[in-house]
Amino acid sequence: MNLPLQEQETPVPQWEEELAKVGFVRRLLRARKWYGADWWFVAISSVMVLGFIVVALFPQWFAPYGPHEQDGPRFLAPGDQPDLPLLIVRADSGFTSLEDLATGPDSEVSRPPIAVVRGAPTAGSLREQAALIDDELQDADTGMRLRPNIQRFDTVEEVLQSVQDGESFAAVMSSVQFEEVADQFPDLEAPTDISGGVASAGDFTLGTNQIGQDVLSRLIWGTRIALIIGFSSSLVALFLGVPLGLVAGYAGGKVDRIMTVFMDSLYAFPGLILAIAITAVLGPSVLNVIIAIAVLYIPTYYRIVRGQTLSVKQEVYVEAARSIGAKAGTILRRYIYPNVIPSVSIIFSVNIADAIITGAGLSFLGLGLPPSTADWGIDIARGQEFIQNAWWLVTFPGLAIMLVVLAFTMLGEGLTEILNPKLRDR
């Protein structure tokens, strides 16, 4: 029986020879010509993934605030400016910020009078801010102090009148209150808010949550936890699932049967439920979440590797390896494993996406992570009751999850397209 002649007999095409000579980067760029849309898919998603990884590694560079700082007003909508109390002074006074009111040993007045509306919360903010500045001044050891003498008046007009008349050096009130009557006092102006910075939009770009934490910062810090969980659990699953799959596939027989039955039953469990069960038993901590999710995915790697091993085992080159006298361990290591692993690396990326979403699901349900962690799932869980009034509490963490998962999935799928046909061609 003659055998079919395949393209095997064509000589090495010239372009392949040329390509072999060219470096890795050039090859990547040239790849665009061949792979078309798939190349863009992979390129865009790898940029995204890289971006997420950088953010996760160095959140402090990107987040304006720490994950737990409650610096802002509560429920600030994205794009809104926080309603900080303004410092109001006479336009000719030369004061431009609260620090300007500091006094030294040779000042006329050691305790500058500052007017506020009786009962308004701005008095508290003033005292806080002044205390902060006072501490700074004391540390600087310049002899300057800021200890305002707070004057209370009944109405906004009376407060401003006292500044106008020169009785008080400055007044502190909310911008809303000032704007209502600002035209009555043309000599007065509000150069800054009492924190010293020019009131700027973008302090809390995506708004704040119910306890005054910056949503954007929590989003950024949440990336870290999400990626840690995603990568770690996938890695653990890989390091356990791959060797087990290799051994089961190569050894066959009873070993294979027992392991497969076990893995299949694990695999048959609905994922989230299994993870819930495990975290419920182990208790809330990042490590336990990682373990729970890893257990979920070990069967995935096991099955894929076992299947690949079974088919690679039949290949002629494995028989050839046996015929030259290689031992089983060598065959597994040098002949089977390298030919099985490409299929694994492809699903690794998609697996991370899956792990992230499972992790978010777990923390959404309140399981797994300690409640103080900055995590997207937790944020969504906490924000869901306010969804009508403060939609941004739920939307942005949700979007973040979606984008990260999308990026990893795209990367994995794109790589599959690019790597597989090449593997098949050979």
């Binding site: 079919p4 002649l5 393209e7 061949w34």
Partner: protein
Amino acid sequence: MANPDILYSIRNLTVEYQTRHGVVKGVDDVSLDIRRGEILGLVGESGSGKSTLGKAMMRLRNGSARITAGELWFDGQDLMKLSERQMRDLRGSRLGMVFQDPMTSLNPVQRIVEHLAETMLTHEPEWTEEEARERAENLVERLGIRRERVKDYPHQMSGGMRQRVMIALALALNCDLVIADEPTTSLDVIVEAKFLDLLKELRDEFNLTILLITHNIGVVAEVADRVAVMYAAKLAEIGNVNDVFEKPLHPYTEGLLKSVPNIELDSGALYKMQGSPPDLSSPPSGCRFHPRCPYMMEEVCPVYEPPFERPEGASEDCRVACWLHHPHPQKVAIGA
């Protein structure tokens, strides 16, 4: 086409397909006539373009291959002008094809008799189902398979039987031309011999015209009336089978014949052809065989492509593309 003797005429056919490195010509300016009632053997190695040519003749989809130039005339009809629907009617009713691996051409979940009957009914809707089945059984028996086997599924039959079923399909509708692409390559030698006998019988009994595409020149010698040799997407030589085998004109044909073992000869020397078939994406300049040709003429062969024509004094059937047989290669060299 005026000549009624010629069943299928290919004129300057070029087929191109896409590879990673650009466009490749799988068939390059090939012209060929197939005469009624003959068995024409088309010989070539992999990369020669023979299979691409066969599929193009049926205008079958073949990866990214497209016919970019040339004409295909079947029994006076211009095939390039036909719609896909009209081609489909032609295929199976007048143009039959037998492939190398019949497993992939036969529906694995359909019994042979159903497949045959269904094909017949598609092309001859006036027949009844019983008529179609009866005819299928008769055909299968004529081809040497026991009638009862007609109820088998493809996987229950051997390779040789499946190939016969493919022929039965072609015959079922009174095909005029059967294109057989490596039909015996996957068969054992005795089965192959019987299959070749069958082809000859069918040619005699039904006046079937057969284009036999193969890499095995022994097979061609056994059954063909005329032989065409392809190399690197072009025709190298064509002629009457006796002429070509006795006195091959093209050095490739000569080398091929000398390097193939002949069981009837006392074992002596087997000629070693140097080099290997070329890469079609960047074929050699001038005559494509020149890097492997022992008779290569330095000034001419690597530079100019030889025309495919009848050498002086050769019989009418004969054509070859080689500067050795050109009356004035020197003139070509100086550009005259």
